[in-house]
């Protein structure tokens, strides 16, 4: 079956602009995660969705970052007024959260964001 997909694969934006990153999880997966991967900080958790709710937003670095999920499927991560330090690869992962395999998270290919 199809894996996690993300779009765009690459995004170059000017400092101060807003960007939207999209994630399509594996069909039927109720849990969705956003992580950020940067050279200095490694892989960091940003936000977790169960269905359309986000009970854990503890990793969002500032109020410029927000995310939503609709229909228990597609999620969008929005970064407002982008800064150069936002440059990173943004990764989405999904998990079934059911049964014995509930922990397993499957990652998409990521969106490489470059802020100039």
């Amino acid at each position: 079956g199809a894996g996690v997909s993300q779009s765009p694969s690459n995004k170059v934006t000017e400092k101060g602009k807003d960007v939207e990153l999209r994630c399509d999880p594996i069909s039927g997966h109720t849990a969705l995660y956003w992580y950020r991967q940067s050279l200095g900080q490694g892989l960091e958790f940003l936000i977790y969705f169960q269905g359309n709710s986000a009970p854990d937003k503890s990793g969002l670095p500032s109020d410029r970052f927000s995310a939503e999920r609709t229909g228990g499927s597609v999620s969008t991560l929005t970064i407002q007024r982008t800064q150069q330090e936002d440059s990173a690869v943004y990764l989405c992962a999904s998990s079934s959260r059911t049964g014995l395999l509930s922990y397993e998270q499957y990652f998409g290919p990521g969106t490489r964001l470059t802020v100039t």
């Binding site: 996690v4 992580y35 892989l43 958790f45 977790y48 992962a93 998270q105 990652f107 290919p109």
Partner: protein, 113 residues
């Protein structure tokens, strides 16, 4: 505070050799320990995972060893192949709540032919 510490940062082995990557964790509430493999330009791919009720898990050439009392776990890659050259991440999470993954810093493995 780095909750999962991974070592070494990089490793070079010859084809057919054994690659060993070590991780240590601090939070005793962690109860799930996966390893991910990442190739350049790709997302991390789940390789193998273990829970604290077992001390070892083997899948093909990959083995996880787990030491609960020492709060350490390691990945062994037997008969390393050039195609294994990638970055490897250990991670940990805990049941309940978000079950978010806490990652180590990663280790770049190079397997020479």
């Amino acid at each position: 505070q780095q909750q999962v510490k991974q070592s070494p940062q990089s490793l070079i082995v010859q084809k057919g050799g054994i690659s060993i990557i070590n991780c240590a964790y601090e939070n005793t509430a962690f109860d799930y320990f996966p390893w991910y493999q990442q190739f350049p330009g790709k997302g991390p791919a789940l390789l193998i995972a273990i829970r604290p009720d077992v001390s070892e898990k083997k899948e093909g050439r990959f083995t996880i060893s787990f030491n609960k009392s020492a709060k350490q776990f390691s990945l062994h890659i037997m008969d390393s192949q050039p195609g294994d050259s990638a970055t490897y991440f250990c991670a940990a999470s805990m049941q309940g709540g978000s079950e978010k993954l806490v990652f180590g810093k990663g280790m770049k493995l190079t397997v020479n032919p």
